[in-house]
Amino acid sequence: MHEVRDACHDSRNALLSQALSESRDLRTPPAIEEHLQNCEACRLYAAGLAAAPSLFPGVSQYSPSLKVRCLNAVAAADSTHDIRLGLLMAPPAALSLLAMFLAQVYFLHLMLSKVFASSPLLWVVSFAAAGTAGAAVGGLCLALLLRRHAQDNRLREVSHG
């Protein structure tokens, strides 16, 4: 390993300034040209600077399969977002359902007590009737949701396939 001479130092600085210049002036000063002819190390250094624009492959690394992968990931992120939103909405929804159910039981008991003599059995009947109606409506909604979910799955399989 030999020491960097002043001429090498100067020529490298000049080459670097030229490479950094935004004017894109490709002419190398004659003094530097002369030095490059005599110094192999600086010639290689200059070649390294000149290689910078071609360092990254011009061939595209992007492929249609990557696009499909991204679209699937976006769709999956959407459904995750929906699930998160659903979880957030679950407590207030459960509270409102409970309030509706209790209101139903109360008004049913009120109606029945006008026809029959008031007794604790009327509360049980009201509770059972409201519960049965609620279960029927809830079951219907669940069936519709499951059907929709199955349709979505089929669509997803088709789009992936």
């Binding site: 090498c8 290689l44 250094y45 360092l55 492959p57 990557l66 992968r69 990931a73």
Partner: protein, 200 residues
């Protein structure tokens, strides 16, 4: 026929199509997202490859970028250009991922090559030339800091001027210039060492 297909068949400017797609995405219609992915896919992958030097890592970040774009699309200012916003998201995600890999490497878990000491270059037409070019490229780039690789890509591949690079990386102009000078100097020295000559 979707609105995008109609505009394509009408031969409209891709920039106009992009504005329409962005408006659709902001309105929650996502069926034309593929148009944007196609439009920026090649450049974005090239940029991520420049930062990470790893194809699989770049693909992961590429995917995360589009998921993040869709999460944040309502925050995008439609009066501004889309590409700087997109590339900024990709840049942040890429550096986050590299940082994570570096920590994993320090803790002794995961890959032992967080900085991408090997590069996956695309195969060129001529196989032998491709291999030689790939070896040369990987040797030259190997060990360069991701920030230095990035600045070389922005200057020479994307042909940005210093002001644009500074704005893109949110760095002072002087830092951009010194970073590029450092990157080029390291390249020159590496090339020289490849020739078997030790100089400075």
């Amino acid at each position: 026929m979707t609105r995008l297909e109609q505009t394509e068949s009408a031969g409209l400017d891709p920039g106009v199509q992009e504005q329409e797609v962005l408006a659709e995405l902001r309105a929650g219609e996502r069926q034309n997202l593929g148009f944007l992915i196609d439009r920026y896919g090649a450049d974005l992958m090239s940029y991520l490859m420049a930062i990470t030097c790893k194809r699989d890592l770049s693909e992961d970040v590429f995917q995360d970028t589009w998921v993040r774009v869709m999460e944040r699309i309502r925050a995008f200012d439609p009066t501004r250009s889309f590409s700087p916003w997109l590339f900024r998201i990709a840049r942040n995600l890429a550096y986050d991922r590299l940082r994570l890999l570096r920590w994993k490497s320090r803790l002794g878990i995961g890959t032992a090559d967080p900085e991408g000491l090997t590069i996956d270059a695309a195969a060129s037409g001529d196989f032998r030339d491709g291999i030689m070019a790939r070896d040369l490229t990987s040797t030259l780039i190997a060990g360069l800091d991701p920030a230095l690789r990035e600045v070389i890509w922005l200057r020479f591949f994307s042909e940005m001027d210093y002001g644009q690079i500074a704005e893109h990386c949110r760095l002072p102009l002087g830092t951009v210039k010194s970073r590029l000078a450092r990157a080029l100097d390291q390249l020159g020295r590496r090339y020289q060492n490849l020739g078997g000559i030790d100089h400075a």
